[in-house]
């Protein structure tokens, strides 16, 4: 019987682990690459140009080409829509959630090749919320993740600006919330189910680094490479509360939950052609998701049953192909467009409503407008359809079809001195 008890606690703790792993998952499935409206409008193909303050994210080497003192503030409004259709054709709609991950960059160019800046952005985020009584309520009813990356950066260009290099340091703060029901075999004499509701929260911290190189071997050609290191989130203060399980809490895992989560390394490589009134760029982005194989979690008070078994993720490395460009209509207006294809890293068996993921197509348009000599505004719109994904071999036997689309509206206001 002890093994069954352990199994129960394993569930709760595995759930805890799921909670925490969700932040990892979101950084992939909902990995945010929207850190500057100009770049977003061009399908995120920006590493070989990176000529505005968002270079702090896209390629720190680009900072040397951003002249003067700059402040860029903005964000992206994300409006996702997901439905799940079960094998009986019953459909559930994810409760509508909107997110506004902000970005802020400050840069200064010393005009001797050296430039410095600091950025704050949301490397990952978003969440899902399903109806409380939906079919997957024993897997997930709600998850919410927030994160901030504080990224001081230095850049230096030389050989007559033919070569530039940049480097940055990342300090990341995050938080996650997760809720679901825990199934039990019990009903009361009135025939009501007794399924405790589990609510978990955790905070994460991590550090990493990034660097970039930009080359301009020919007048119109630029090459960019940007690397962002794997960041290991450390969670050491996860908390769990149970509703409808008052008598159980003494034996459930409790106290500070700690774990570590890999936010995988990613790199971008791109080539751009820069004409007098237009430019176009193609990028390849690699995301090292194979770093996420499984996750284990330990509780301060694991109880008599010990800590849970690791949660399997078994992600694959993934990539994003980006193409985009812009056209300067006149001194005031610039038009932009781009497209990308984003390969999801999650095997079918582990594609769950915690993070319903699929290959995506990003269709982007936008514009930039110089309002005054000092102030400019960039705006972007992205339509992000996901491939319809039908799961038939879920490890949790939660099979069905996911459909997701998202609309993203971005705006940045830049002040240049």
């Amino acid at each position: 019987m002890a093994s069954r008890k352990k199994a129960l606690l394993g569930t709760v703790a595995a759930f805890a682990a799921t909670v925490l792993s969700a932040s990892t998952a979101f950084s992939s499935g909902y990995q945010l690459n929207e850190h500057g409206s100009s770049a977003v409008a061009m399908g995120g193909a920006f590493v070989a140009r990176a000529w505005d303050p968002s270079s702090i994210y896209f390629n720190p080497a680009g900072l040397s080409y951003v002249k003067g003192f700059n402040i860029m503030l903005g964000g992206t409004l994300i409006l996702p829509s997901t439905t799940f259709t079960d094998p009986n054709d019953t459909q559930w709609k994810m409760n509508s959630l909107t997110f506004f991950p902000p970005n802020a960059y400050v840069t200064y160019n010393f005009d001797n090749g050296l430039a410095a800046g600091i950025g704050v952005f949301t490397p990952e985020g978003l969440g899902t919320s399903w109806p409380q009584d939906w079919r997957g309520k024993f897997i997930i009813t709600k998850i919410n993740l927030q994160s901030f990356d504080i990224n001081p950066t230095l850049s230096y260009s030389f050989l007559g600006d033919m070569v530039s290099v940049g480097v940055g340091f990342d300090y990341v703060l995050g938080s996650v919330l997760l809720e679901r029901y825990n199934p039990t075999v019990i009903i009361d004499t009135a025939g009501n189910s007794v399924d405790p509701f589990v609510h978990m929260t955790g905070n994460a911290k991590g550090t990493g680094f990034n660097f970039g190189v930009m080359l301009k071997p020919y007048e119109n050609i630029s090459l960019g490479f940007s690397y962002r290191s794997k960041i290991t989130y450390k969670v050491d203060n996860g908390t769990t509360t149970y509703t409808g399980a008052d008598g159980l809490t003494a034996e459930l895992p409790s106290g500070a939950a700690s774990t570590s989560l890999p936010l995988p390394e990613t790199w971008y490589a791109g080539i751009a052609y820069n004409g007098s009134t237009y430019s176009i760029e193609a990028d390849y982005q690699f995301v090292g998701w194979s770093a996420y194989k499984e996750l284990s979690i330990t509780f301060q008070n694991p109880g008599p049953n010990g800590n849970p078994s690791p949660v399997i993720g078994d992600y694959s490395n993934s990539y994003i192909i980006r193409i985009g460009g812009e056209y300067m209509l006149n001194d005031m207006w610039t038009l932009r467009a781009g497209v990308f294809y984003d390969k999801n890293p999650i095997p079918d068996a582990y594609d769950l409503p915690i993070l319903p993921d699929a290959d995506r197509l990003g269709l982007n348009v936008g514009f930039g407008v110089s309002v005054t000599n000092n102030i400019s505004v960039d705006a972007s719109y992205m339509f992000l359809p996901f491939k319809q994904r039908t799961i038939t071999n879920s490890a949790l036997q939660f099979n069905g079809t996911y459909n997701t689309t998202a609309n993203l509206l971005g705006i940045d206001i830049s002040y240049k001195l």
Partner: protein, 473 residues
């Protein structure tokens, strides 16, 4: 000049990229559109559930935790099949069952009882008691004026299906007592003198049959003391039953279930053949049990831990330290020893071979539902649905009720799905499967302090047992 060449090259490159993007978009757009992947539920005209009749034993009746009661009967697998078939046809079919109000009606020895309930979680295993039920209270016995669609009779054996005397004659396995379920299910000889006759009087268009489990289960649950039906006898009687159904319901299609391994259920797998320590956990020391010599004579000896099974009913003897010494062995009636297991398996194998032959002989009209393999697979690997993990473990596994033999509502749902899968595969229908996670749990925790949706405030000591109940993973 060089710059111009480069320019040409890159403008050509741009053209190529644009073409590639357009081609890529054209090729992949279909994948990004929402399309319906669910085939609409339908019987496809291949099966007709207009008048569906199920016959057989307690497993057909929806018997659970030692009793027949409404809230369990609602999830009998035939009723779940009927509901899913209604989804397929788009119209709700009538499927009458002999409903008995909660807490239902069971028999303990000769005493009528209600369903079994957990009343004390501080013991290991938890203390289980029957709910008090003075007499069965039929809900629709006088309002349903035709035979019930669900003709599952708890306790019935194969020969009972065609028997025309059961409504008035003594029932063999209950000594001098009649099996009262015949009266509850069949009610009145005017509706048909036998189970099969009542089924035929409904002019069924579809029939499911699950019978024969008790023909060997009685032997197994008595530790090898009661008798069993021989495989030869089984085949001839089952053939007669099927031939009657085929002939007298000439358009009906039939699904028949085979017989599970008796050792796939928690009645036989919960108490292990080891001596239990003071902590309530089995040690590595073999239990002393009464076993059989080759000539059938009894002797006391250490259990064959791989092949002997201790019955769930041994719990009280276990508490009285039976099995701890050669002079105080676990009594024969609580032990299904290796030779008895072998005997049971030979019979079951014989039954199932017979069922296969019968199904093959009428393959245009009969589908064989392999419940045997289903339960063996679940015993080995568990069963996962929508993130809930079920196992064959007693209570905590969630698939078997408190008698250790009969499924829970969710367990019956899994059986219903196996029927539906087999029917769809055999006859080409597309009846949708039951969502197991949508079926409520059904093990009753009877604590006076319990409030709806709130766990009882129980002592720390109780928790140890409670926790065993709270997970299916």
């Amino acid at each position: 000049m060089r710059g111009d060449k480069m320019k040409n090259f890159y403008s050509r490159l741009t053209d190529i990229l644009v073409i590639a993007i357009v081609a890529f978009l054209a090729a992949s757009c279909g994948d990004f559109k929402k399309t319906n992947v669910v085939t609409p539920p339908s019987t496809n005209g291949k099966v007709d559930f207009t008048r569906y009749v199920s016959l057989g034993n307690s497993l057909v009746a929806g018997y659970e935790s030692g009793a027949l009661y409404e809230s369990a009967q609602r999830y009998s697998y035939p009723n779940q099949i009927a509901q899913q078939a209604s989804l397929a046809t788009g119209s709700t079919m009538v499927f009458n069952q002999p409903l008995i109000s909660d807490p239902g009606f069971g028999i303990l020895g000769t005493t009528p009882i209600g369903r079994l309930q957990i009343v004390d979680l501080s013991t290991n295993p938890p203390k289980i008691e029957p709910a008090i039920s003075a007499s069965p209270t039929p809900i629709n016995a006088t309002t349903v004026m035709q035979p019930y669609n669900n003709l599952g009779i708890p306790g019935a054996i194969l020969s009972d299906m065609m028997d025309t005397t059961n409504l008035s004659s003594p029932y063999p396995y209950l000594g001098s007592n009649n099996n009262p379920y015949f009266g509850i299910v069949l009610r009145n000889p005017l509706l048909g003198k036998s189970c099969v006759q009542q089924a035929l009087n409904l002019h069924p268009t579809f029939v499911t049959v699950e019978i024969g489990d008790n023909d060997i289960l009685g032997y197994a649950t008595s530790g090898g003391i009661s008798g069993y039906t021989s495989a030869q006898d089984f085949e001839s009687k089952y053939t007669a039953l099927i031939d009657t159904l085929l002939a007298d319901a000439p358009t009906a299609k039939i699904a028949i279930a085979n017989i599970p391994d008796v050792t796939a259920i928690p009645f036989f797998t919960t108490i292990l053949p080891f001596i239990y320590g003071l902590n309530g956990q089995p040690t590595h020391v073999r239990m002393f049990v009464q076993r059989h010599h080759a000539d059938g004579s009894l002797y006391a000896g250490p259990a064959d831990t791989l092949h002997d099974f201790i019955l769930l009913t041994a719990a009280d003897s276990l508490a009285a330290l039976a099995g701890t010494s050669l002079s105080h062995p676990m009594p024969d009636e609580f032990v299904l020893d290796s030779s008895e297991v072998a005997t049971a398996r030979v019979q079951i194998s014989g039954y199932n071979d017979a069922l296969r032959r019968i199904a093959d002989a009428h393959s245009d009209r009969i589908a064989l539902v392999d419940v045997h393999t289903l339960l063996n697979n679940i015993a080995q690997q568990g069963y996962v649905s929508d993130g809930i993990v079920f196992t064959s473990a007693f209570i905590s596994g969630g698939l078997f009720g408190l008698d250790g033999i009969h499924p829970t509502a969710q367990g019956y749902g899994i059986v219903a799905n196996e029927f539906i899968r087999t029917i769809n595969a055999k006859f080409g229908s597309n009846i949708p499967l039951v969502a197991i996670s949508s079926i409520p749990s059904s093990i009753v925790l009877a604590k006076s302090s319990i409030q709806p949706n709130v766990l009882p405030d129980i002592s720390y000591k109780d928790l140890k047992s409670v926790l065993q109940l709270f997970d299916r993973r």
